[in-house]
Subunit: 262 residues, 2 copies
């Protein structure tokens, strides 16, 4: 229970004569609990997709390795893993710079296409993460607003959204196609909050990557980290996660602790 702080005269100061003459009763300024009970607004959950709701990070990583190699760029797989989840364009810039290769638009576009093809070839193996379907079903049933905001494009996100049983007519899904800058810029989460009609300052971002946590801070949302994308608890906390769970099933177990009470 939060109590408003109203100015009440300290008891050792006599009530001013003028007030007494006017019959002013200071006691009404002592807040009565029932009149000042404050309710914080219901939080909305803004979910990342890959590594957060579906188990697709490692396939994305190896698909990017294949796409980079098709352009003659050899990079260690762990370095690609640690960049997954940021904007694909930004990621290519970073990786190309790291490998000392030249960046040009035609090359980036060829790699984007090669990645999508290599990923879709691997996508038969991809499953929703444990508890993902149950978590979003719980939120829907509890009438807690939620949306999806992914740095991926519809061409790779479409199939996994289906596997989650997401009703695209009812649940806002913001993809990289719909904003100018993807994560770690805050735009995807800002757009998702807009689509839900909620203030970003009351929203909670759920993601598996450092880039989700950085974007959530830039958006002034809270961030919850999940280990299911392969980052460590320490990496997520250092990037600003205020709480870390294993996967959607673990988050659902603790949903009452993070503003998801029914």
């Amino acid at each position: 229970m939060s109590v408003n702080k109203l100015p009440v005269p300290p008891s050792h100061i006599p009530v001013p004569v003028a007030s007494a003459r006017l019959g002013i009763d200071w006691t009404h300024l002592h807040p009565h609990p029932s009149l000042h009970m404050r309710t914080s607004p219901q939080t909305a959950f803004l979910f990342d997709l890959d590594g957060t709701l579906v188990d697709s990070v490692y396939q994305h990583v190896l698909a990017w390795q294949e796409a980079l190699e098709s352009e003659g760029i050899v990079l260690s797989v762990w370095r690609i893993h640690r960049r997954i989840g940021m904007s694909g364009g930004l990621m290519m810039n970073v990786l190309l710079r790291e490998s000392g290769s030249a960046i040009d638009d035609a090359r980036a576009e060829r790699m984007r296409k090669a990645h999508a093809a290599a990923y879709n070839r691997r996508s038969a193996q991809i499953r929703p993460l444990p508890g993902a379907r149950e978590l979003v079903a719980y939120l829907t049933e509890a009438q807690i607003p939620w949306a999806i905001a992914t740095s991926g494009r519809m061409e790779t996100a479409g199939a996994v959204l289906e596997s989650l049983g997401v009703n695209l007519a009812r649940v806002p899904v913001v993809t990289r196609d719909q904003v100018k800058y993807a994560k770690p810029d805050p735009d995807l989460f800002l757009a998702a909050a807009d689509r839900l009609g909620v203030a970003i300052g009351t929203a909670t971002v759920v993601g598996d990557a450092v880039w989700d946590m950085l974007a959530s801070r830039r958006a002034r949302a809270l961030g919850i980290g999940l280990l299911s994308g392969g980052y460590s608890q320490d990496e997520l906390e250092r990037a600003g996660a205020y709480r870390v769970f294993e996967d959607p099933a673990d988050l659902l177990k603790h949903i009452d602790e993070v503003g998801g009470r029914r």
Copy 2:
């Protein structure tokens, strides 16, 4: 410089009469620095293979996922990743227990074979990690003893050892086939030190997994962690790494700091 502790009589105690009579000169027991300069023995480097010298962890992870699924066991990929590098047998026990599935020898043997086949199908994409060939060439040239100790079996390790240019006639390679218990038991590293003829207490283990660090502590060796297998610095340090580098190239840059001076 370490100085031997010899029993010298405290100065307030008079030299015993008998000693004085016999002409004993206690001062020779004060060590002269040049006579007591201590040299620590040269460290030997005991390398893990997958994720430490070759970039094969993510392919192993997805190959295990495929092998588990062939037995109807669905597990999140990050959970498999965090178990890679431990004994395959132990890993199957842990994962089967986690998934609530029954463990039996025939099933474990089928999965071992399915993993080897799925991994070998992916192995064309596998490369030595940056600096791996240069690091082992440097140690060989500097006559610093080194060996390889892997929880993998020769059937999957053979091809990557070739890619490293390792001369199997000269470099000891201990695989899972040659010890009773693989990592996190210390046996692989103890066997590698034996093969080099060095004391394990003077050896340094280099690995990418928490299991390498735990095995190095159980063996009483030092552990150096590498990020190239996808674990975080924090995870490796908590498991006992006394130093963490990015990959073999980064370790080679700092080799003088960890006992690898020429």
